[in-house]
C-alpha cells in the first residue's frame, strides 16, 4: 500500500513517516501544496493524508483540484481546524475522512485501514480476510487454517496488497508501484523472491502465476 503524506510540519511528518513505515506502508512525503497537486494526481497512491494548512496552496484547494481532475484516491484530512463548519467544507471539497490534531497514532492507523478497505469495497471487518487467510495488521502475522504464521515486513506488505485485491491479476510493475515509495530502487526480482517466500509459508496454490501477465491471489476460491 502506497500512501502520500502532505504535511508541512517537519517534526510531525517525521513521526508519521516512521510510524506509517513501521506499519508496512510505502510513504511519500510532500510539504508544499503545489507539489502535492501534481504528484498526487500522477503517482498511483492508494491513500492520501492531507494537512489543510499548507504553504504554496491551501489543502482544501489541493483537494478540490484533485477531485475536479477526477482523482478517486481516498483522502484523509488531518488538521487542527476541527470546527464542524471546517469538517463540512472538507467533505464538500471531496474528503473521505477527517481526523483532527492532535490524534493518537492508533486512531490514525485504524482510520487508514478502514479507508483502504472501504475504498476496495470490503466490509468493515476488524481483520482483513481473504482466501481462507486472516491478516493481523497489528502483529503483522497471518492465520492460516488455525495456525499463526509470522511474516517479514516485506512479506506482510505484499500479502496485504494481495489480500486487498483478491482474484485480480497484478503485474510486477503494478505491485512495485504500490509497494515501494518514490525513493526506493525498483527491482522486479525482489517481488518474485517475496512471492516465492509467501508460497513456501502459505502453500503454492495461494498465488497463481499468469505468464506474461503477473500474479493472481486467491484464484482457488475465486
Amino acid at each position: 500500500m502506497r500512501l502520500l503524506l502532505v504535511e508541512d510540519h517537519v517534526p510531525l511528518a517525521d513521526e508519521l513517516l516512521a510510524s506509517l513505515t513501521a506499519q508496512g506502508y510505502a510513504v511519500d512525503w510532500l510539504a508544499d501544496g503545489r507539489d502535492a497537486v501534481y504528484q498526487g494526481a500522477s503517482e498511483p497512491y492508494d491513500l492520501i493524508i492531507l494537512d489543510l494548512g499548507l504553504p504554496g496552496l491551501p489543502g482544501l484547494e489541493v483537494l478540490q483540484q484533485w477531485r475536479s481532475g477526477a482523482l478517486a484516491t481516498p483522502v484523509l484530512i488531518l488538521t487542527a481546524r476541527d470546527s464542524w463548519s471546517d469538517r463540512i467544507a472538507g467533505l464538500k471539497a471531496g474528503a473521505d475522512d477527517y481526523l483532527s490534531k492532535p490524534f493518537h497514532p492508533e486512531e490514525l492507523q485504524l482510520r487508514i485501514q478502514a479507508l483502504l478497505r472501504r475504498a476496495r469495497g470490503l466490509a468493515n471487518q476488524p481483520q482483513l480476510e481473504a482466501a481462507g487467510l486472516q491478516l493481523d495488521e497489528g502483529r503483522q502475522s497471518v492465520v492460516c487454517q488455525g495456525t499463526e504464521i509470522d511474516l517479514t515486513a516485506a512479506e506482510f506488505r505484499l500479502l496485504r496488497y494481495f489480500m486487498m485485491h483478491p482474484g485480480k491479476i497484478l503485474s510486477k510493475s503494478h505491485l512495485a508501484d504500490h509497494l515501494y515509495d518514490g525513493e526506493t530502487e525498483r527491482d522486479s526480482n525482489v517481488i518474485e523472491v517475496h512471492v516465492n517466500h509467501l508460497r513456501r509459508k502459505l502453500g503454492r496454490e495461494v498465488i497463481e502465476t499468469r505468464r506474461g501477465q503477473g500474479y493472481r491471489f486467491g484464484s482457488a476460491s475465486a
Binding site: L16, K101, P105, E106, N124
Partner: protein, 444 residues
Amino acid sequence: MKSIQRRLSLGLVAVLVVVGLLLAQALLWVFEHSLREQIEVRLKDEAESLIVAMVRGPQGFQLSEQRLSAAYKRPYSGLYFRIDFADTTWRSRSLWDSELQPGDKPGLQEGLSQGPQDQQLLTYRGDYQRFGQKLVIYVAEDYTPILKSVRNVQVIGLGLGLGALLLILILQRSIVRRAFGPLENTRKQIAQLQQGQLNELDSQVPIELEPLVEQINHLLAHTEETLRRSRNALGNLGHALKTPLAVLVNLSSRSELEAHPALRKKLEEALEQIEQRLSRELNKARLAGEALPGAHFDCAAELPGLFSTLQMIHNRGLQLDWNAPAGLRLPWDREDLLELLGNLLDNACKWADSKVQLQLSQGSDGYRLVIEDDGPGINAERREDVLNRGIRLDEQVSGHGLGLGIVRDIVDAWGGDISLGESSLGGLSVCILLPSRRLAIKAK
C-alpha cells in the same frame, strides 16, 4: 418610550385647543363690547328724547304722550325708563308692576339687572337738570335676545372648532405617517435583521436617517469582519499549537517508552489535559454568541451537509434523519449552530445502535431542538452530572464530555436551556430550548 406620533398628536391638540379657545373668547368679547357701545349710544338718545318729552303741564311736569315712544307704553315691551326726581319717581308703563333697579354711577351699568318676566336688562343712567331740577333718568333695554344669540354663536363656534380639530388631527396623522414611512421601513428591516432575514439595512433612506442607517451597517460589517478575523486568528493559533501537540502525542506512544509505563501514563495524561483545555477554550473563543444581528442558519441549506459529514465519520450504516418545518431559519450564527448540532449529533451517532433523529421546531417563545438516539441512554440520576461537569461517562468512546461542554458554552451564550431525557427511540434525548432573539434581549 411613547411613540412620536402620539406625542405630536397630543402636542398639537393642546396647542390648538388653547389657542382656539383664547381666540374665540377674545373675538366674542370684542363683539359684545362693540354691541354694548352701540346700545349705550341708543339708550343715551332715548334718555335725551325723554328729557325733550318732558313738558310743563297743568300739574307741573309731565311727559308729553305724543313724544313718548310706543314701546314705553306696551307692557313688558323690552324698553323701560325710570325718572328719579328729588321727591318722586316716574316709571314707564311698560314696566307694569315691577321696579327698575337704580344704578349708582352715570353711564351704562356694569352688570345686567333682573327685569320683568325674566328679562335681563342693560341699564343706562343719565344725570340731567331740567327746569332747575336735578333728575336721574334710567333707560333699560332687554338684553336677553342678544345673550341668546351670543350663546348660539358660542355653540356654533365650538362645533366648528371641534370639527376643525378632528380634521386637523386626521390630516396630521396621515402626514406624520407618510413622513415616518421611511422610519417604519427601517424599523421593520431591523426586526428582519434580528430574525436573520437580512444582512444589512437598505441605505436608500431620507437624509435624516442616513447617518443612523450608515452607522448600523458599518457596525454590522465591522462586527462581522472582526469575528471573521478573530476566528481566523484562532484557527491559526489552534493550528500552531495542535500540530506540535500531535507530535508530542505521537512521541508518547513510541516503543522506546514501553519500558517506562508510568512515565508514558503521566505524559499522556498531561497531553490529554492540554488538548481538552485547548479545544474547549479555542471553541469558546470562536463563538459569535449574540454579537451578530444579521446572522442566520438556514436549516434546509446547512443540515444536508452536516448529515453527510456525520454519515462519513460514522460509517456504519446508521439511519440519520432530520425534521424541520419548511424554510425554518434560526437567528444565530451558522458556525455556532453547526458546532452545537455537530457535537450533539456526533455524540448521538457514537452511542446509537442504528438510528439518530434531529427535530427542529419553532414555538411562540423560541426554538426547540431535540436530538434522539436508540443507544443505551443515561440513567436519570447521572444526567445532571453529565450536564454539570461535562464529564466522560465512558472512556472508550472519546470526546463525549468535551462535546457536551462546548454545547453548554454555546447554549449559555444564547441564554438557552439544555435538558437530558429518555428518547422514544429508547436511548438518550437531548432537548435544547432557545429563546427567540427579542425575548432573549428583553430578559437581560
